[in-house]
Amino acid sequence: MRLVIGDWRLVTFLSGLFILVSLTACGGNDQLETEEASAPDVPLVVTTPVPTTPLLDGGTISGTVTLEGVAPPADTYTPFKDTEICGTGERTAENMILGPDQGIKNVVVSITNLPEPIALDRSVTGMMDQKGCIFTPHVVQVAAGAPMTFLNNDHLLHNIHTTGETNLQINKAQPGYMKKMTETFSLPEIIKVQCDVHSWMNAWIVVQEHPFYAVTDEQGTFTMPQVPPGAYTLKYWHESLGEQTSDVEVRGSETTSADMTFISPTSP
């Protein structure tokens, strides 16, 4: 098959057509925008694990966890990335939040030696948000094997990087358009989660296998209702202050007090 002059006319025509198409194409394409920027936030619904069958005739453990000694200075940080959403200026970290009477917030109190297992409802989804480049809440509870949903109401690339010791570590991107991402943790553990992109962001996920976990509030108080009567060892865990234990005796329909004190690491 040899060159035929006629071919060149067709070729030239097609080349011209191609160039025309390319020029019009680069003139301006509609960007198909996702609706992320204008969409409303996905609401954050903070849950606590519930047992499959309701507990009855139990006692209540309640108490206050306080810090003794001079309060250590709080960690501070300044957001260094995506400041138009994360904000500017120095902020206090959440690793040592104390109430007016030195009550410690975010201490996780749990029963360590429950004699019989009490099943949790695995359909209750744990939830945590990334908003303003902070994980909210700072400590969240979820049942082992239940879905744990991470919301991203920041429209920014965050990532979920967990460094549990018994649960498999995960490191997954959560881009801005990914309003929610769900993972599952199957072993009881308190897992640290951080964002590598905004490395000041961290939080804790309490993966529990029974209902008797409580997290202290701003005053450092906690309540654990409907505990079956018996003698238990309680563990008090705080991300900066470490762990302590104490023993309690629970009687039906009564409230047992279980205060705890952490000694401040700062010398006076």
Partner: protein, 227 residues
């Protein structure tokens, strides 16, 4: 093509741009010559009635000539490139130029650890800042590149500077900025899904602004000689 180069604000950056231009003119010239020859041959020697191809098997002399010329031009390229490369990457750090900061690549931020007034990394007056590198203009600045986890690459386009940060190594890097301003730092080695977010800022400051910045962070320092 050369117009697309970003603004150059570094001393050796100018030399790099100069070398780039030489290579650009050289390669573009060769390309145009060869393409011209190609198109000319295609037109002149297209098949047409009464025109027969010539039975030419080669020309040894021509082969040696164009081999030699090509080799010579490339040797020139090497001779031009070598000294600049040595200046940029093999220059030993003089004692008079202490390391201003350790730059640590980290998934997914640049962690800058300023040596502080004592010019030592790892002492009490070190200051850690993420993604913001402040340096003085018109001075040799030395950095030490390290990596926390995977290989990153410290890239400042306007300085024409790029160096991989490798875990297990401390790699010295130097530059001298010729103009004050804010220049983006990028990561140029795929380091994970957050690679695209590893963006920082190089703030090149004139002397008074730099001193003000230093006083802000080391208020009790009276040493005037720190870079």
């Amino acid at each position: 093509m050369l117009d697309w180069l970003p603004e150059n604000v570094s001393t050796y950056g100018e030399d790099i741009d100069g070398l780039f231009a030489i290579i650009y003119y050289f390669t573009t010239g060769i390309l145009l010559l060869v393409l011209l020859a190609l198109v000319t041959f295609l037109v002149l020697y297209r098949q047409r009635p009464g025109h027969k191809a010539s039975y030419i098997k080669g020309n040894a002399r021509l082969e040696w000539i164009w081999t030699g010329v090509t080799l010579a031009l490339l040797v020139v390229m090497v001779i031009l490139s070598r000294p600049l490369w040595a200046t940029i990457k093999e220059r030993p750090r003089p004692d008079s130029s202490p390391i201003t900061a350790q730059v640590r690549g980290n998934q997914f931020n640049w962690v800058i650890l300023y040596a502080g007034p004592d010019n030592q990394i790892g002492t009490a007056d070190d200051l850690q800042v993420e993604n913001e590198l402040h340096v003085l203009v018109h001075t040799d600045i030395w950095l030490s590149l390290v990596s926390e986890d995977v290989i990153h690459s410290f890239f400042v386009p306007q300085l024409r500077l790029k160096q991989d940060a490798v875990p297990g190594r401390e790699i010295p890097v130097w530059f001298q900025a010729t103009s004050a301003g804010d220049y983006e730092i990028a990561c140029a080695e795929l380091c994970g899904f957050g690679h695209t977010t590893m963006r920082g800022w190089l703030h090149v400051l004139p002397p008074d602004a730099y001193e003000a910045w230093q006083r802000q962070h080391w208020p009790h320092n009276t040493n005037e000689d720190t870079p």
